[in-house]
């Protein structure tokens, strides 16, 4: 076997270099600042947890994606987090059980997944998120979408659009028509109208109508309004319409589409869910929605997760700061003053013959020599 190159990393992992690593940190900080400004307080769960707590409740969906190892100390199985939402839900249900509701929490961190997706090979991804726990109101649904939209706009995502869905609509129709949902789920997930028609049985007609209705929010709502729906589904439709109407005021300029049958990744969601897109990025910028938090004492909750790696592809490249080369002998107080003015200073560590050439070699835009600033 040939020797392995020392720089080779395992599949799906990579090094972030300058300036991307800095850009990522800046984006995370700005997203978190928007969440903080809306009263979402930061929590920091650990990287690894006992498997049974990490994968209980809403965390069960991530079980196949979770790296596991045995804790040599407790001799119990431990999982590396593949998603931070279940951790935050656990904190809310245990240590912050007595904190007043609605509880607003935020978090930022890296998660690890056993497999990357077919389209995204990354196995370590960054998440920034918020959870709003203890409110069942339409206002909470609206807040989750609008705060996420504000955060994404704040970091410079252009032409943001959100796709809203109600994952309870399809089950309500299936129950009313007596059709097993497993029968049509895969076909619905791929928007495969032919297979829905073939497999849907008594639900084929209403499900086909829902499929065809997906599109810009206004138009879809109008189509949905004309549909004959079972009472449970009609109630979901009513709530969806209310959310859209309120979002038009809460997040003006946000493009909204509606997809009444979207379900992927929303298996554990119990109400309004949403996904953010932008034309410039090939994947989702973030997603979220309503779920049930807490194991023993269930609580209504909503929230969202933003994917920093995708967001970084969608925002304008960061401008590099002005870098100033300080020639030997620059007084420390002078250097401090320049840094306070916003300069990044690169101090010479030894004798320099040609300050301009040395500055250029180190990627500096300016030189500070004999008390004067010079452009390189």
């Amino acid at each position: 076997m040939s020797e392995q190159h020392p720089a080779l990393l395992p599949v799906g992992l990579r090094d972030l270099l300058p300036p991307e690593a800095e850009a990522e940190a800046v984006v995370v900080a700005r997203l978190m600042a928007v969440l903080a400004s809306h009263g979402y307080e930061r929590v920091k769960p650990p990287l690894i947890e006992y498997e049974e707590t990490l994968l209980s409740g809403a965390g069960a969906a991530m079980a196949p994606e979770t790296f596991r190892l045995m804790d040599p100390m407790s001799q119990r199985m431990i999982g590396v987090r593949a998603d931070m939402t279940p951790q935050v839900a656990r904190i809310a249900a245990s240590r912050l059980k007595t904190a007043p509701r609605p509880l607003r929490l935020s978090y930022a961190g890296q998660v690890l997944r056993v497999r990357g997706g077919q389209l995204r090979p990354e196995r370590q991804v960054g998440q920034v998120g918020a959870e709003l726990i203890g409110s069942e109101t339409v206002a909470a649904d609206v807040e989750a979408v609008s705060v996420a939209a504000e955060a994404l706009s704040e970091v410079g995502v252009p032409n943001l659009s959100v796709d809203l869905t109600m994952p309870t609509l399809v089950p309500a129709i299936c129950r009313a028509t007596g059709v097993a949902i497993e029968q049509v789920r895969d076909a619905l997930d791929h928007k495969d109208a032919a297979r829905v028609a073939a497999l849907g049985g008594a639900a084929a007609a209403p499900l086909g109508a829902l499929l065809a209705a997906a599109g810009p929010a206004k138009r879809t709502l109008a189509t949905l309004a004309a549909l004959e729906l079972p009472p449970a589904a009609a109630a979901e439709r009513q709530r969806l319409a209310e959310v859209v109407a309120r979002l038009e005021k809460a997040a003006p300029g946000l493009r909204m589409t509606l997809d009444p049958v979207e379900n992927r990744g929303f298996e554990y969601h119990t109400g309004l869910t949403f996904t953010f897109f932008t034309p410039g990025a090939s994947g989702e910028l973030g997603r979220g929605g309503r779920y049930v938090a807490g194991n023993g004492a269930p609580e209504p909750a909503t929230g969202f997760t933003l994917y920093t790696d995708t967001i970084l592809q969608a925002v304008p490249a960061p401008t590099r700061p002005r870098r100033l080369f300080l020639t030997p002998g620059t007084p420390p107080e002078e250097a401090r003053r320049l840094r306070r003015e916003g300069w990044v200073t690169i101090a010479a560590l030894g004798r320099v013959d040609d300050a301009i050439a040395e500055a250029r070699r180190l990627g500096c835009t300016h030189v500070f020599e004999r008390g004067a600033l010079k452009e390189v």
Binding site: G117, Q118, L119, N159, S161, D163, D189, H190, K191, D192, A193, A194, L211, A212, A214, G215, P216, R255, T257, D259, R264, T275, F277, T278, P279, A281, S282, G283, E284
Partner: protein
Amino acid sequence: MTQKLVMALPKGRILAEVLPLLARAGIEPEPEFANEDSRQLRFATNHPGLDLIRVRNFDVATFVAFGAAQLGVAGNDVLMEFDYPEIYAPLDLEIGRCRLSVAARRDLAEEDSSRLSYVRVATKYPEITRRHFAQHGIQAEVIKLNGAMELAPVLGLSPRIVDLVQTGATLAANGLVEIERIAEVTSRLIVNRPALKTRPDEVGAWIDRLREVVHAR
């Protein structure tokens, strides 16, 4: 800035059936598109916002899944093989009708397959093949071929194949029989999921227009 939409079409057999559909939907490719020897890969249409590309049928799914093309035409055999979550198949174009089947040498056709634990199969569809046999509790060793599947049993490469069957004439000519149908196949209009979400009006308009054409037949 509005980018052009790109529609990926499969080379070969299906293309001849797709073009009349597109024509009825009012999509006329530039004349060079008809030239099979053309080195050109991307073609304009009479719609300034829509271009066509001509690629292998498996690549249609890949281009659309990654969003390099927003629209495409692909058989559900290709979609089943890749199972890309980013592809929607909103419309059955009802062309390219055939079936995906398991075929074997005539002498094996009588064999009781419930006793098998392991088979060797030659196919262009390794994922579908593995999944299909796994559902029957059989582990399949897949030999990936890109064409002329019927040769595999004849020359002893593998006793079974999984391949598209249209009339069964090619199978019969090589002493093979169809044992089991895995799926009925037709071509679908496919779209890239983020493209549908971020450009619902343009992409949706093409889906609607083609739906009218298909249903009018």
